[in-house]
Symmetry: C2
Amino acid sequence: MDKLLVAKIGGSIIDEERALKEVLETFAAIPQRKALVHGGGRRADHVLERMGIEPRMVGGRRITDAPTMDVVQMVYAGLVNKNIVALLQSMDCPALGLSGADLDCLRAVKRPKGEVDFGFVGDIRLVNARVLKQVLDAGWTPVFCPLTHDGRGQMLNTNADTIAAEIAIALGRFFSVELVYCSGNMGVLADPADEQSVLPTIGIEEYHSLKERGIISAGMIPKLDTAFRALRNGVQEVRIGGSVALHADNKATRIRLSNTEEKK
Amino acid sequence: MDKLLVAKIGGSIIDEERALKEVLETFAAIPQRKALVHGGGRRADHVLERMGIEPRMVGGRRITDAPTMDVVQMVYAGLVNKNIVALLQSMDCPALGLSGADLDCLRAVKRPKGEVDFGFVGDIRLVNARVLKQVLDAGWTPVFCPLTHDGRGQMLNTNADTIAAEIAIALGRFFSVELVYCSGNMGVLADPADEQSVLPTIGIEEYHSLKERGIISAGMIPKLDTAFRALRNGVQEVRIGGSVALHADNKATRIRLSNTEEKK
């Protein structure tokens, strides 16, 4: 099976022009088939503020009402996605920017109102793996912004970590997939106060123990849950780290299922 | 040679949700190979205003300084393009939104400062006809927003009428191309005060005469110049009209070269 790298970049990498350029240069130079998924960094908040719209978050997730949806659509698919695609092209990487609506590649349903009404937030129901394979086989590098659509004409806001995992899982039918999460953090830390304490690997039992002790918290929890889900569903390797994590031999945290689960 | 329809939609069609849906329904139902190019309507001005940036125009063309470039990139590639792509998908049209940076399909140079510094405005130098043919041959419908890139990482703002004509010309190598400009106007008018006075056809001599008499003016002049340029460069047919112009047998203005030129 051919290898495929699915890299997700987010956080401060998106906001800092130099950091972004550096990670894109590393990404562009990787010879194997690859796909990129990006978050929106703080850009959406800046535009919301500038337009006089109050950003609202619950549990680290954005409440996406109609005016906020317009803004995230503008920032993610317009500003950030096209900047990345243009930079990759300048590095001779044949990038193709995609939202979930393009080629109907990521279809979602609007999250039902529960205790919280998240608004125009989409939970992925269908990854069009066949069409994405066509794109990859043409030699193109898809660059996904964190947007999906509902198949009825409505765009939806979807978490970029989740998109990366769902794409990695769906393409596992065709490729041996490596999923890498890159952000400003250098990996999963054994001591949140010490940036040098990056764990080289983390298994499911260690994760539960660190989570119970409050060492792993906030945004790292859904990211790790997503990582374990990917491994359980055919993704070959998952790493979490800074931009250096793009290379397997570099410092980053490799996520692994526990020995018992690996033997299944 | 297979037929290809290149349709450009702009003006009030973009701004009015119902008008947009109607024209997209007509477009989606056309069975032949097709590509869509859209303008930005007044949406960019609304966002500029909301963000406290003064829109500046010279001779009907936008001065695109850096903050304005960010906004047009957001509005054209994010808001308008993805809304159109999502609507087309809901109509079973396999749409793929593209800026000029995507697949390096439209490369431009930043317009040199002349009497006016237009800022981040791009004049097209290269249409990647081979890659666009690949997209069309895959059965996909490209949807272009009016943005190009310079190949060095910078997005540029480019007139949508020009993009439509350049794509039509470049794809003339592979297809028998029909280029249709659809906007709120029903066609080229013999009497600017009478919307019913749509000319069924207009030749180059008639155009010059109407232009001299001030009957054809403003935005219609570059549009017609572009139309004649397309015809001189291998495009089979050009029509200007409302959304009904998408169908050859409907009321609209067919542009034709003069008899002498047609015989060349």
